[in-house]
Structures are given as structure tokens and as C-alpha cells.
Subunit: 505 residues, 2 copies
Amino acid sequence: PDEPPRSDALPSVSSLECLINDQQTVQCLKAAGTDGQVYMPFDFIQNYFEVYGKMKHYDGYDRFEFQQSYAKVIYNPKVPYSYTGVFMTFDSYNVEARDRVKCISGITGVPLSTQWHIQGYYYGIQIAQFGMSHYSKELVQRPPTKQVYENAEDSIQVISIPLGSGAALILGNTIEHILSFDLKMITNGSLSVVLETNDKLKQYTIHYITSNIVIDFDHKSNIYYGLGASRHWRHIARDLLTDLKKGIGLTDTRQAKKVRINILKVARLTVRGSGFIDNITLSTSEHLSQFHDASQWIYLNQDEETGGWKNEVERRLEGYKPIPAGWISAMGQGQGMSVLSRAYHVFQNPKYIVALSQAMLPFTKFPHEGGVRAVFMDKYTWYEEYPTEPASFVLNGFMYSLIGLYDFKALLEDKFESYELVTRLYDDGMTSLKAMLPLYDGGSRTFYDLRHFMVQMPPNIARWDYHTTHISQLVLLYSVTKDPVFKKYIDSWTGYLNGKVAKHN
Amino acid sequence: PDEPPRSDALPSVSSLECLINDQQTVQCLKAAGTDGQVYMPFDFIQNYFEVYGKMKHYDGYDRFEFQQSYAKVIYNPKVPYSYTGVFMTFDSYNVEARDRVKCISGITGVPLSTQWHIQGYYYGIQIAQFGMSHYSKELVQRPPTKQVYENAEDSIQVISIPLGSGAALILGNTIEHILSFDLKMITNGSLSVVLETNDKLKQYTIHYITSNIVIDFDHKSNIYYGLGASRHWRHIARDLLTDLKKGIGLTDTRQAKKVRINILKVARLTVRGSGFIDNITLSTSEHLSQFHDASQWIYLNQDEETGGWKNEVERRLEGYKPIPAGWISAMGQGQGMSVLSRAYHVFQNPKYIVALSQAMLPFTKFPHEGGVRAVFMDKYTWYEEYPTEPASFVLNGFMYSLIGLYDFKALLEDKFESYELVTRLYDDGMTSLKAMLPLYDGGSRTFYDLRHFMVQMPPNIARWDYHTTHISQLVLLYSVTKDPVFKKYIDSWTGYLNGKVAKHN
């Protein structure tokens, strides 16, 4: 009798030319038989449709995993969003690790951006996001492990130790990479930390020095951060791994990635110069300290006259004339307000309420007056991430501005009483958002802005991480409003991530 | 020495499971080797991405042909569009063959629609398109072959022959399927044509009878069309193949398609009753005759009070309350105007100018006043294909209305003098069109309307034939305006047909 075909026999296929839109050919496969299925190579599919896929190796078998989009975490709060709580999905953000963050300044404790200018500059939105990521991590992460070193000798009551010339403290921590201390300098001096790493060089030393340099690297093993020239007591918290990576990465950001450097041990600390140091601590996190640095920067760098956080770099958007340095962003105002609302919640300092009130001013002014306000078709009030003329109606920036307004509004209603201006700004914006959401719906993706309508360009499709940001923002707004309009867009836009598209007629 | 692998060796592949968006699995193939290409089955690709493909067999080889869209003819005029010329791509239209055309009425000579009502009703837009397709075919097709039969005996001077009771005329035409004649009935009677066909039944007889029935079929071989009860001289032109197909198709439209029935010979004609018949002709086309029937219907069926062609069926659009019967469409007005402009050009009867002037009235009135006017965001004047409230802003219908206005405007400027109302309606509409085109641009497809913005639905994606209509309409408007805005959208929207999509950020 004939042997039945073996079920694990290799499929029988032949090569087949495939003509794509009468324009190019691609080599495909065709299964044997007259009605044999045609198979197209994934290289072509990936490129033509811009989808994603990779081979995954499981125990005993391989599987190819296809994705319409590079799915990102979408905000999914268990309780409604609150101005005292986690900010969206920012607990998963690692702002300092971004390529476009030059480093965390030793003087201010906040990131310096290179996004639009190679030199590095303070970018309010980035600083706010840095602050809120640490605030959110503080809420969701387990408490840190901590080790407190008073000084190199035994000493219990001494709360400050004079800085010697080269006094060394043996540390030896392998898990805790956040160094913090209180410092008051009398002369110039430095604090150097020796790190053992998995890099072939093995040892790096980070020098924190009383100087105004930002960051430097001798291309061997010494990294320098300026702490400024302050002679007052300061609390300083440094993420040694970030400082190490940014130092090495100065020459080549790709290198730092490639090395995937890690700290094996925080070996020792040496102090030089005259002054006082106290509470030398190594811990796994110092999120509130970093949040404090961010909120301080935001508080101190608000422009007195305008209430804005000015962006001191020129901004170019395709289709528009450049926006000269000094512009204010509704997103920056909103994110700043979200930080300040939390800062008030944590630190209870009324100065933050004053700053919050000031931060609303740009919402009342049009770009030619230095503000962020726009009106769509003479009807819908909008707050502009980029104060272009004509307006550009960037969606995610607008929603961040609404969330900032919401935070201040909620804080006021919670602790004081409602305040007409913030309520009106928020309500007007929400009305516009609900009416205009459909204009960002492309049927299979979302639009980043309304540039196509304003300056007649092709639609500026939002890349998938902005798309998921849109959804997360709507989730946040839905959690506090329960407005079904938001639910509708959350559902259909989430579908787009999995290739579900709007119907055609 | 080893034999090199044969180049025509079958590719070596194995089966591979592929997980799609974490939701379903599809069997793929993987080429041999660790970095072997993954191949996905076209059945999945076609369904998931809604693309098209088929195996084509050429002399000596097979090729698989992949298409992003089902490409349709796009208007590509050699000279700028004119109100006297071909209407867009309508020379390729075959309105009478559409499933939703019940038949061509023997009384009016124009199609009866079943699109929104199974009984059959006159639908102005369909009649206009029927007229313009024949007008356009007349311009582009070769002159017909024609055979004129005066009567059954030899007779030269006799211009009318009395209808006997069963007088038969032997015809025998195999190519010419359009029967035309002049008729004046005195009593009731009929004119029957025997057709030899490729159907297994072989012979069908179409009876044109002095009655008001629309169409009937005895389910054997007799088809009936009513010619009405007119006692005046009339010119009648009948497309026998269409009449045959619609007759058989009465019971089952699919059957008529399946049979793919064709006329092998127009065998003979029998006349019964008293009256006069003249100019019995068989020809390959009678386009001007059919255009005349359409323009007559349009002229005669314009509502005196409103100037509109009223649609006597209720219309339902998803997301809106139903529009009760009696509504007027800007598209209908525009298409009617395009017909009447050509009718004036051909027949030079000033009554058509009067009708054209009347046809503008609905453009000046809002839906609650019985008109077609809408305004987008209190700024952009629009003419509505469907007079919904709120407005729906159907793009293709709007552009047809602009083309109709253009035709009348061009005719007036050509033959008489410019006229303020038509110029203003056209100019206002063109301003809106240029400003609002971006709102229909989805980045990879176009939207049919703005329902998503007006009633907060998912975007109503235009199927590919509406998409190509959008492009053809823009080509037409570009040919007469040379406005670069149109060129920009023609180019990018044509790209969508081949999978070229807007960039993401």
C-alpha cells in the first residue's frame, strides 16, 4: 500500500514573479498545485505597508510575530487621574536616558536638551517631563534601598564634616547608584566618585567640581560635572549611571549605547577643598529629590512678565516661517502647571500657587502678543504647542495644556475655591477638543496637527508613539470627565494599532 | 567536483506560524537558512490590507499582479474641458447596464432606477449621467453603421406606412442592435422584434406596446415595454440588447449576467394596430437620440416652483435623520445643468437657457428652505449632494455641482454675456473647494464627506471608485483653472492608488 504523505514534509513551492502596482517586481513563492497560494516576502510587506515583525524563539519552536504598529504602553489608570497622582504613563519614562538629553546639569539637577540646538539648552517641557517621571516613579515604585554614610571615621553627632584635601570614603555599593549629599563649600573643591564598570576600561571617575562647566570627558576615564559656585547648603542627588553614560556618550552617543555600560560597584568617594558635607547616601532612587530639582527649575525660570517658560531656541515647522527664540508653548505651560500642582501638593509652598496663576497668562494671548491662544475657524479656542501663524493645532500639545489646566483647576477646587479664569480656559478648551477630535482621525492613523488644512500640505501623520500619546491623553480626560466622546475615540484609535481601519462606503 | 546547485531548483522552505497583532495566527513559510526570508500568504495580505492581486498567464510564464487599489480610468483630457465636449470619463460609462437600472422606459427613453426603491423611479442624476454618457460617446466613437428600412415592400416616396395587423419586416442584422423609428399611432398596437440569441432558448421577442406598463417578462421568451398612449409623431430609439437583458433580468439580475446573453441576429419586426411608422433604422448607435431623450426628461421634469429636480424617494444617511422624499440635490442640479448646457449647444433651443437659470435657484437656499446650500463653519459656502441637517459636505457631489455651474457660466460667457449669479455661485464654491480639500485627505485614502466632523462618526472613507472620481473632477477643474492647488491634490491622491502614503513625523 502507498505510504501516506508525511505531515512534516517540507512544503513544495516554486518561485513566482510579482508585479507591484505596475511599477516594480518582487520575487514571491507559489505553493504547488493550480490553485496554490501565493506567498509574498515579509521584507517587501514590511517596507510597503510599514508594519513590523520579528522571529521569536520559544522553547521548542519559532514563531514570527507581526505587528501593525510598534505598540506602546497606553495609560490605564485603576482610579481616575488626579493632580496628586501618577502623570499618565510617565512612570515608565526615562527622560535622562534620551539621546537628545545632553546630561543632567550638576548646577540645576535638571536635563539639558540638544533637540533643536547641539550646544544644549534648558527646555522647559523636557524638565517638566523629567520632574513628572520621577514624581510618578516615586508613587509606583517600591521604596528605595539606602545606605547612609556620615563620614569616613566613626562620628555620630557630627552633622557636617570639613572637606579635606583628598579624604576618601570607601563605599562598595553594587545596587545603589544614586548618590546624594548635602554640601556647603567654602573654597573651590571637588567630590570624585570611582566606579567599577563592565566596560573594558573597568574604572571611571566622575568628578563633581565647583565650576560652571556643564560636562566634560577626558576620553580616558575621567568625567566632569560642574556644581556651580554656590556657597550655601545644597542638597545634591546624582544618578551615577546616567552621569557615567552621558559622560562617555559625549564623544559618540551610539558608543554609549553599544557599550551598554553598567556600574558593577560604586567603589569610593574622595572630597577635596574646604567646606561641609553631610548625609552622604547611596540609594536605589531619589525620585522626590529629582522632582524637587525640576519643580525648582520651573519655579525659578518662569518669565515674570509673561508667566511663560520661554524656549530660547528658534523652532522650524515645515510649511511655516521659523518661530524666533523666546516663544512660549501651551504644552510647556500645561506641563509646567502639572509639575507645579504636584509641587504644591508635596511641598505645600504657596509660591507655587502664585506661579500657577501666572502660568495661565499666555493662554489669554495670541501669538503676536506673545501668547499661545488660537481660534479654529473663528469658533474653537485652542492652545498652541507651537505659536505659529497661521495656527498649527498640534493635538498632543493641546491636550497636555488642558491637563495642566485641569490640574490647577482641581487643586484650586480641592484646597481653595474654584477660580473663574482657569475654569473658563479649561472648559473652552474641552469644548474645542470634543468638537475637533474628528479632524485628527485619518481612518487608520491620526494626524499630529492640522497643518494640512492651515497651510495646504499633505496630512502630517502622527508616528505611532504620538498616536499612543493621543490615546493615553484621551484615557486621562475620559477618566475625569466620563464623556462618551472620548471613549469613542479611545476605542477606534486603539483599533488602529492593530490594523482595524474605518469603513469605506 | 561538486555540481553547482541548479538555478531552477525549487526553493527550500518550511512552515512557520505567524502571530498577527497578538490576535490570530496565519501559516507562513520560511526560506531555508538561519536568516531565511519569511513569506506571508497573499490570502491574508489581501484581506488584512484590502489590496488586490491576481495571477496572470502570459505566453510562456505566469506573473502575479498586485494592486493597491482597483485602478479606474482617470480623466485625462487632451484639451481643456469644455461644456460642449466630453463629460469627464463618461464616454466609458454604461449607465443602462448598471444593476440598479431597472430598464430604459419605453415612454420616456430614460432609465428607471431601483437604487433606493425597488419599484423603480426616475432619478435625475442617473438620467443626466445616461444623457451625458451618450453625448460623450457620440463625440469619441466612430460614426455608427446604419441600415434604413422604409417598409416591407419597395417604396421610396412613402414616408409613412400604415400599421397592418401583423405586417412583418425581415431584418437580419447581426451587428446593429439599436432600433429606431418614427411612430404615430391611431389605435392601440404594438411593434415586436424577434431576436436570435446565444441563449439556449435562442429566440426572444420584445414587444413595444401602446400601454403604460414599464416592463414585463412572461418568463419564457416574451418581453414587454410600454410606449405610452401618445397619438403624436415620436422618434423612438431602443437599444435591443439592453431591453433584452433587462427583460430577462427582471426575475433575477444575476441570471442575466450569468447568461451573458448576446444578440446573434435581429431577425424581424412585426407591427400591429393602426398608425404610421417611418425611418425604421437599425444602427450600431443612436447616442444623440438617447441624449435627446435625457435632456427632454430633464427639461420637462424640472420643478417649476423651485427649479429643482426633486428626488421622490426618502434618503437615509448613517448618522442623520432620513431626508423625506422630494429633496433636491446640488449634484442633481449640477449634472442637470451640464446636460442642459450641452442640449442648448446641440439643439439651440432657448428653452434650455431658461431651465438653466431656474436650476440655480436651489443653490441660493438652505435645506430648510428646500435648497442645497450649506456653509462650513460660517465661512465656506457649499452645495450639498444630500441636503442633510447638519450638513454632510459630500465632496464628489459638490464638485459635480461646481462643474454644472461652470458649464452654464462658460456657455453664457461664450454665447451671451456673463451673469452675476452663476459667477458668484461658482466662485464661492471654488473658494470653498480649494480651502477644504485638505479636510478630505486621509493621508492614504480620501474621505467621501465630512460626516465624521459634523456628526462625530468614524471617517467615511471613499471607496476607490469615488477616490478616482475625486481625482477626475480635480483634473477637470485644473484643466480650466490651472490652479496649482488642484495639481497638488491630483498628484498626491493619484499616489494613493499605488500605495504612496503621506509621511508620518
